[in-house]
Symmetry: C2
Subunit: 329 residues, 2 copies
């Protein structure tokens, strides 16, 4: 029987607040440029007060990925927690307007909707300061096992492995998906996630996950090495397909007896690199759903990533389908 | 004694919600392209549900104007009403981060912060659907007469002439400003404002306002004529300086015994024309504050307007001071 969704993603339901600042704005506050860090409510308020005029655009890593997939024609669903406030309304509107099924109940008490305070520097690099808020209140009770069973791919956001309740929900989702014979995919999300959950992530890679996305820094952190080749040799021991993204250098697909490299797309000017990895994963998996070969999947991932870094915000603005047609036919 | 502010503006405190849609999206709903209309809460919800994924950027006509002036070095203040909600927090953060003094107390009950649902069509034209919300709860009690007295220019947003309580506050502000010998400036805002308040606006022009901004359509509506020359002949009877904006054709400055025309700036691509008139007024008045001649004021208005229509959102993104220096020295 055909499944209702090509993919169901579980991730942070977040609205991005994007401003442009100098690199000194970050260094003066001891914030490492280019990374993601979690911050509490007080620090979020203090940092926001110091940031310049902003623009608010829906974000969240896995949410961005499924929005990209929907734009490429995939049937998508998302599970994540917002609060019943204005930013929760914005997130809900935007993901539904993008064609993604989203029905997780908003929390009525507790923390407000999560926000990511994104500082973009003039080089296009983004530094993310995430206040998770309602996101971390996601629990197993929010997960409809029938919906997980009804999606060809279960996609998990590494960022959400950090808080305990969502992690338990994701573990349960993996069980449901595997029992049904569905694929499980995951993103390592950030070096800090890998550092915090190395044993978990290695175990997932060895036995529970079919497809893993990570950038060079993340896969090196996974195997505690400075040498990408050593990390890739470790990855090649698993039947899990790992896709290593390398910014402008493109991507490498690794699995047992498989290695394919594709070059990056040329981008006239990187305005805001937020969402590059998310949109790569979206392009890659949308192409997989269509049954394309893995190297084409990686190429389409690069095309989608190139679109999203050419403007502010982590959601696509141009017609991704048309871009892929123009580049690959 | 030197005054504390170059300008104090009274206007709508609004967050813009911007999406891109086809012209048919508007025509199919009977919405006239390129105009502004006021909508209620239910219609705002229904229209938002139909709109695509959006981006939220602070707006409000007079607020945009003073943000532009602040970017050009003027000392600015703003009076307008938000609610104590997340979008009110966004508006407050953004206008203060732009360097504008903003201290109007947020309402703690009643309507939420005002929103403008802006549909941008691929030609760059914008159609605005405004839910005023908390904006119309602004009243005379929110106005600090000492602050009005302490600003060289009092600037009034025509849009806010519509609801009664803010109109009363603006009338009181005019009295305070004139008693102190300050200048009073105003924007006609939209044809619907002129149609609704023609007698008031004509009376203001004849005796209470020193500087008036309007586009061709608005000044023609003011004198119920289809002929711009007839409207301009009427305007020339007053000592009030009127500046007529004409989109890509530039602007005309008219006063008793004065007429100056300046050409528009060339813009590579109009992405979103929202805020063009607001930013023109901001550039014009910032130059006036510097003591520049009127034709230079109009040129600087055109430079500021050209910047804001080259990207989404009605607030400047580039360095306006540098743009003016590069164009005029």
């Amino acid at each position: 029987m055909a499944q209702r969704f090509d993919i169901l993603a579980i991730g942070n339901a977040i609205v991005d607040v994007i401003t442009t600042e100098t690199p000194e704005f970050l260094s003066g506050r001891g914030i490492e440029k280019g990374c993601m860090r979690l911050i509490g409510s007080d620090e979020a308020d203090a940092l926001y007060a110091a940031m310049g005029p902003g623009r608010e655009i829906s974000g969240g890593s896995a949410a961005n990925t499924v929005v990209g997939m929907a734009a490429l024609g995939a049937r998508t669903a998302f599970v994540g927690r917002v609060a019943g406030d204005q930013l929760g309304g914005v997130f809900t509107h935007d993901i539904r307007a993008a064609g993604v099924a989203f029905d997780t109940a908003a929390s009525t008490a507790g923390a407000p909707t999560g926000r990511c305070l994104i500082v973009v520097t003039p080089d296009g690099d983004r530094t993310m300061n995430t206040y998770l808020g309602a996101c971390q209140e996601l629990s197993q009770a929010d997960l409809d096992p029938a919906m997980v069973a009804d999606a060809g791919i279960l996609y998990l956001e590494g960022y959400l492995w950090d808080p305990a309740a969502p992690r338990a929900a994701m573990r349960r989702a993996i069980e449901v998906a595997r029992a049904r014979g569905n694929k499980v995919a995951m993103t390592l999300s950030d070096v800090f996630c890998v550092e915090g959950h190395r044993a978990d992530f290695q175990a997932l890679l060895a036995g529970h996950v079919d497809l893993m996305f990570g950038n060079e820094h993340e896969v090196k952190a996974l195997y505690q090495t400075d040498d990408l080749e050593i990390a890739m040799a470790e990855l090649a021991k698993h039947s899990c397909i790992t896709v290593v993204t390398r910014s402008e250098k493109g991507a490498i697909v690794i699995a047992k007896d498989l290695r394919a490299e594709v070059p990056g797309e040329v981008v006239a000017r990187v305005v805001d690199s937020t969402g590059a990895g998310d949109m790569f994963a979206g392009g890659f998996m949308a192409a997989m759903v269509e049954g394309r070969p893995l190297d084409d999947c990686a190429r389409i991932g690069c095309i989608a990533a190139a679109e999203v870094i050419s403007h502010y915000g982590a959601r696509p603005e141009a017609d991704l389908k048309a871009l892929v047609r123009a580049r690959l036919g």
